[in-house]
Symmetry: C2
Subunit: 344 residues, 2 copies
DNA sequence: TGATATAATCTACACGTGTAGACAACTCGT
DNA sequence: ACGAGTTGTCTACACGTGTAGATTATATCA
């Protein structure tokens, strides 16, 4: 069917081994004359090495695995696309492929990983959305399989990761809101099972405490990150006896939904209520009013995660193993910066 | 290193072939007693078949390839995530893997395909963003390699595809705008190289013609689909001597950007200017005002595309080969339905 | 009972590649 | 002129699996 190395060898009048030496540029030398003959034959036949056979022989796959979790048919983060793009690009740069597997149900997760890892389908995996006592980490550690994690561990486990300092991001954003004069600030957090949900909540509490503001559990919620969820919880917040005068949401989607709910009730965002999001997705800059948000450098994170993993796969010690990046507060209008400039 | 079939055979006291027969449930019968012994050994050793070796032996990979194009680090459509999810899920349902490859530069595209296809890295590919005289289609056809296309061909080539009837969607949306009383309607189209750009433009012209409205080339543009581009072109439109009183954009991102530009100039969307988008991405429902848009059932499209491809890979004639789905007009507020109800 | 069909298992090889070991031709220093 | 080293090439096998052909034990029927 497809043309193989032996076909090339026959046409070029050399042995199959010589063809391999030409293709891989080693490990044995090949005379210029022979090389030219082989290259000519390869071109003439349109030969492409069979990647599966190469992988079997080399005992590695040059493939990076990524399992992404979808909740009710929706991906948890739109910035995931940035991550995917950067990981894919960095893979390509190193001659790696990217194998993607969606996970619609937590109960299937273990099976997916076992197939990828145990079946040696991939050479290493990238784990995202790390949870408390995450079974995936335990499994990969036990198998001594190469992996890197987007997000920090809870305790001080010693595996390679990159994370954004969520506590710091939230703290800075909270301070910004407080400096603008907002006092009763609600917090829309992420799913409680996620470790980063705790991290960000800690930033929220720290900022409240430092400014002598009370922590009111009625103003705090954990949600899946969709616009619908943001809308729903904000509607509930606004119906409280003492509704919040500002809200910090842990994703831009949540913030967009929350903003929408406030606007439905006739509130002017930025004047009557302050809103800050998290992630800086593209639409954050183009909604009305433009959304103040905490930016995560997802593109860069993807690149570095992937580079780290490939170094581990290739047996090198990664240059950097545990990285925590600072997020950036991007001030637009939803926080009220334009209405309240210098009002404090 | 990893445990292999021979290890299992040794432990169970049977031949390697018998282990294979148990795993694949055939093609030879195995006695219940032996099967039990083998399964026990598999469990005890935690054996997972080596997928690479299986693929080599079976001469197929059970992997679907998808190349996605990014423009300046941004993916062209956020609904792409829906597509990805559904394709991934359908793949998993059939025991297929999904191999993803980003393409940042058109010049690399051919190389990526050659590696995937010629190297037999995947069993079939899904092609998106089909262009005029698309070299990818020519290549895949010449190689007689399994593929399906998201989007229709220009002429009547006979390959399997699924598409949304863009002309019809745009036509209906235009009629809706015209019925609401808008008369000078601008059109923000997609990149001219895309076949679907023509299709949608045809719908625009058809609606104008049927309603006796003139076609003004100054009100028509082709853009990459980002909020920034929508903002930019709308700003230009509004600076014309005779600015448009409504705009139909070929993606929600373009529409969001256009809406933002109009709002910057103090226009009230829905009252002073009508806006309609395309795709129905999640934020369309949660921006202000909520965006009227032409919905594409991307999730369903992904499922059917993938199912079609797998049938072709497995040598079956696909049940349905060329499908054109109707889009749905989702009326919200940006088109002015609430302000102008019954005003004609 | 003996011939024959059937069930269960094993031995052996192929899939396409990478590379170690064997081998031939040639160079070089003495 | 001759061993030692170097360079270029080839032969042969292994990677882990699926399965055809051979082999053996068991059931069936005249």
């Amino acid at each position: 069917m497809a043309v193989t190395r032996d076909d090339v060898a026959r046409l070029a009048g050399v042995s199959p081994a010589t063809v391999s030496y030409v293709i891989n540029d080693g490990p044995r030398p090949v005379s210029e004359e022979t090389r030219a003959k082989v290259l000519q034959a390869i071109k003439q036949l349109g030969y492409q090495p069979n990647v599966t056979a190469q992988n079997l022989r080399r005992q590695r796959t040059n493939t990076v695995g990524l399992v992404f979790t979808t909740i009710e048919r929706h991906l948890t983060h739109p910035y995931f696309v940035d991550l995917l793009t950067s990981i894919g690009e960095e893979c390509a740069r190193h001659g790696f492929d990217l194998l993607l597997s969606p996970c619609t149900d937590r109960s299937l997760e273990q099976t997916i990983y076992e197939r990828m890892v145990g079946g040696r389908r991939v050479a290493g995996v990238i784990v995202t959305g790390i949870r408390h006592d995450d079974a995936r980490i335990a499994y990969l550690s036990a198998e001594e399989f190469p992996f890197v994690v987007l997000g920090r561990p809870e305790h001080n486990e010693d595996f390679p990761y990159i994370d954004v300092d969520g506590a710091r991001g939230v703290d800075e954003a909270m301070q910004h809101l407080i400096d603008l004069g907002w006092r009763r600030i609600a917090f829309i957090g992420l799913s409680a099972e996620l470790i980063c949900a705790d991290d960000r909540l800690a930033g929220y509490r720290k900022a409240l405490e430092r400014n002598g503001l009370p922590y009111d559990p009625r103003l705090v919620a954990n949600m899946h990150t969709t616009e619908a969820a943001g809308h729903q919880i904000m509607t509930r917040f606004l119906a409280l006896d003492e509704p919040p005068d500002a809200v910090l949401a842990c994703s831009d989607e949540l913030a967009l939904g929350a903003m929408n709910a406030a606007q439905e009730r006739g509130l002017v965002v930025g004047r009557d209520i302050g809103v800050i999001g998290f992630d800086d997705i593209p639409s954050a800059a183009y909604c009305r009013p433009p959304l103040t948000t905490i930016r995560q450098p997802m593109y860069e994170i993807g690149i570095r995660l992937c580079r780290m993993l490939i170094q581990i796969i290739e047996g090198k010690e990664p240059e950097e193993k545990q990285i925590v990046l600072p997020p950036t507060l991007v001030v637009r209008e939803s926080c009220g910066a334009h209405w309240r400039q210098g009002s404090v």
